[in-house]
């Protein structure tokens, strides 16, 4: 058995036993949804429907329905693509990178964070496909000879790297997520069997792939999880590095920057962690999981967010400093420059600085990191800030072109706004359904750490004081039926 240092707070509150964990995780899946869930779902579906309408209009009429022009040909569309891809990164960070670092606090949030990753990547993929203008020819991005003749795709292009990176990232994330779900589906299945719920049993029997929890299966399961975590770690860093290469290998000033790959990865984790916080702060309350996703978890995620925000802040400073220090007149018009700070897009520049650099500084205070209301508002502020970062990189690096006659301004059309709102609706529709049908917490994995971090077992001195157990050893669990 692994022990946790006694000076750490327990990660599982409320004297949980193995059976209690099962009950708490199964409750949202087996119970009925309340009216707030239905209301949220209705709103999400309406937003998604509006988005589908705007997408259909775009496909029917062409991307001339958008506000983009010859100078700014990547507007909201690619901004939203990079924003969604970035949000996905926190899920893989929590499930893979923190797995390698043996961070136990990830266990109650990894399932929902991985779901968020998958849904975010699905939303992201919509944008480049629509931007093609002829989405029915989207299969041309795969290695096929053009027009089925002789000319192949260009393997030296970062746009093609993106195709491989994002499709690999999506499919590997789905596999990682689903393999972890199998034992939890089996738990729901067996509960349905004991309760005599036949339809539920049949559904979860298929979803659980016949999992029975044999020792050899667990041995393989653990090995596969560890190796997948090891594989996903470089994968997650590669994906956003490659997305940043879409910009960094271009000749547009402001984009042509070697700092982009690490800076994009840090930004992605920053925004992704903010989205995880937005989702779990609501999720823990609605699903009654406050004893699993504790204030300690929120505090830790805030610390990760603060660290990543600081890395991003240093990158902003470096960009700003070198744009000025180079003395290059072109560089003085990049997204982080004096010209942009006082130009027509000053509002976007300051939105970025305030949301991403200034306001997150309040997270240095432990009291604020542990305040759910402020954390929730900060998570939304950071997501807005990170959206502005991508908007600034794309739009304010393009609007002052090398030729002054090309200088122009860009505002999105209602169609572009509609598509973005539609993807947010799609994301929340999927996430709300996930929270009702799938076990929200990876209960099988969590049970392995119950004796190390559970309130009942965690601190031998506390146990001694409460139970009079003189040897100071963790007590045996009491099964509660």
């Amino acid at each position: 058995m692994q022990h946790e240092s006694v000076i750490r707070d327990p990660l599982l509150l409320g004297k949980k036993t193995y059976h209690q964990i099962t009950e708490d995780v199964a409750r949202p899946v087996e119970g009925k949804a309340n009216k707030y869930w239905w209301l949220m779902l209705a709103l999400a579906v309406v937003a998604w429907s509006w988005g589908i309408g705007c997408m259909a209009y775009t496909v029917g009429r062409g991307i001339g329905t958008w506000g983009i022009n010859r100078t700014i040909d990547w507007g909201w569309d690619i901004t939203n693509f990079v924003w969604w891809i970035g949000i996905g990164h926190a899920g893989t960070l929590i499930s893979a990178v923190l797995c390698l670092f043996r961070q136990r606090w990830r266990l109650t949030i990894n399932r929902s964070a991985e779901a968020m990753t998958i849904f975010a990547v699905m939303c992201a993929a919509i944008f480049p496909v629509l931007h093609m203008g002829r989405p029915w020819l989207a299969y041309f991005v795969f290695p096929l000879p053009n027009q089925f003749g002789s000319l192949w795709v260009n393997f030296n292009s970062p746009l093609l790297w993106d195709v491989f990176a994002i499709s690999t990232y999506f499919s590997v994330s789905v596999v990682f997520w689903y393999l972890g779900l199998i034992p939890d589906f089996a738990m729901i299945r067996d509960r349905a069997k004991m309760a005599g719920r036949k339809i539920s049993y049949e559904i979860y029997r298929i979803l659980s792939f016949g999992w029975s929890g044999r020792a050899k299966d667990w041995q393989r399961f653990e090995e596969v999880s560890l190796v997948l975590a090891g594989i996903c770690t470089p994968l997650v860093f590669s994906v956003h590095s490659i997305v940043s290469s879409d910009f960094a290998t271009g000749v547009v000033r402001g984009w042509h920057s070697t700092v982009y790959p690490p800076y994009f990865v840090a930004g992605a984790i920053f925004s992704g962690m903010a989205m995880v916080l937005t989702l779990v702060i609501v999720g823990r309350k609605v699903l009654g999981l406050e004893e699993y996703i504790t204030i300690q978890h929120i505090d830790t995620m805030n610390k990760v967010m603060l660290t990543m925000g600081s890395v991003v802040g240093v990158a902003y400073f470096a960009e700003f400093f070198f744009a000025w220090y180079s003395g290059n007149p072109d560089e003085s018009f990049i997204y982080l420059s004096w010209n942009n700070a006082i130009g027509p897009y000053a509002w976007a520049f300051w939105a970025l600085i305030i949301c991403n650099n200034l306001l997150p500084q309040i997270l240095w205070s432990k009291r604020i990191r542990r305040n759910l209301y402020i954390t929730f508002i900060m998570s939304i502020v950071i997501n807005i800030g990170m959206w502005f970062e991508r908007f600034d990189i794309i739009v304010t690096d393009l609007y002052r072109d090398y030729i002054p006659s090309d200088w122009t301004y860009y505002s999105p059309s209602w169609v572009e706004v509609g598509i973005f709102v539609g993807t947010i609706g799609m994301f929340f529709t999927f996430f709300l359904c996930f929270a009702r049908v799938f076990p929200f917490i990876a209960q099988a994995e969590l049970k392995t750490t119950l004796k190390a971090t559970g309130d009942l077992f965690h601190n031998p001195r506390k146990i001694k004081a409460k139970t009079g157990n003189t040897d100071g050893a963790p007590v045996q669990p009491q099964t509660a039926h």
Binding site: M1, S150, W152, N154, F155, T168, V172, W211, V227, S238
Partner: protein, 175 residues
């Protein structure tokens, strides 16, 4: 030939491991253990071999890398070299740096999916398969140890060992 098995049900993983050690020390084998979560160390007590699935993963990764290298070389260099910006694809060697992202992604793609498929097939986890755990509580909070017994004396010895180590239910099953 029919077999007799003793099913010992525990409600704690540490007691399960105590029971498994005791049964093994008495010279009996453990056919199977069903548990709601991975019980660390039980595989060694049972005498299970280490899984070789990570070796499979390495082989799949090498395959993915080789296939991607062959594919890119064939398409970009041998079949139809694209000359973009005066930078033609004459040799794989000259283009290798810009191929690294796709070579890496293909390696990851093949290793991850290959390993997952191997795991599912080796453990026979297929949609629609009927689960084999004899007691549904083993996915909740109970741990079931299955031990073969050949004589009545074996059954008695195993049963008393299981009882002594805290088994909450003990059954004899003829299969």
């Amino acid at each position: 030939m029919s077999h007799t098995y003793v099913h010992a049900l525990y409600d704690d993983d540490d007691r399960l491991k105590d029971g498994a050690k005791k049964v093994r020390s008495l010279g009996f084998s453990i056919k199977e253990v069903f548990s709601p979560f991975p019980v660390h160390g039980i595989d060694k007590i049972m005498g299970l071999n280490r899984t070789r699935i990570s070796i499979c993963c390495f082989i799949y990764g090498c395959t993915g890398f080789s296939l991607a290298f062959w594919m890119i070389s064939y398409m970009s260099v041998y079949d139809w070299p694209i000359d973009i910006g005066g930078k033609p694809n004459f040799t794989p060697y000259h283009n290798l740096p810009s191929w690294i992202p796709i070579l890496f992604e293909s390696t990851v793609l093949c290793s991850a999916h290959g390993m997952a498929i191997t795991f599912l097939l080796r453990s026979w986890l297929i949609p629609g398969v009927t689960p084999k755990n004899p007691d549904p509580r083993t996915t909740d909070d109970h741990f079931l140890m299955v031990m073969p017994a050949y004589t009545d004396a074996d059954i008695n010895t195993i049963t008393s060992a299981a009882k002594a180590t805290g088994a909450v239910e003990i059954k004899t099953v003829h299969a």
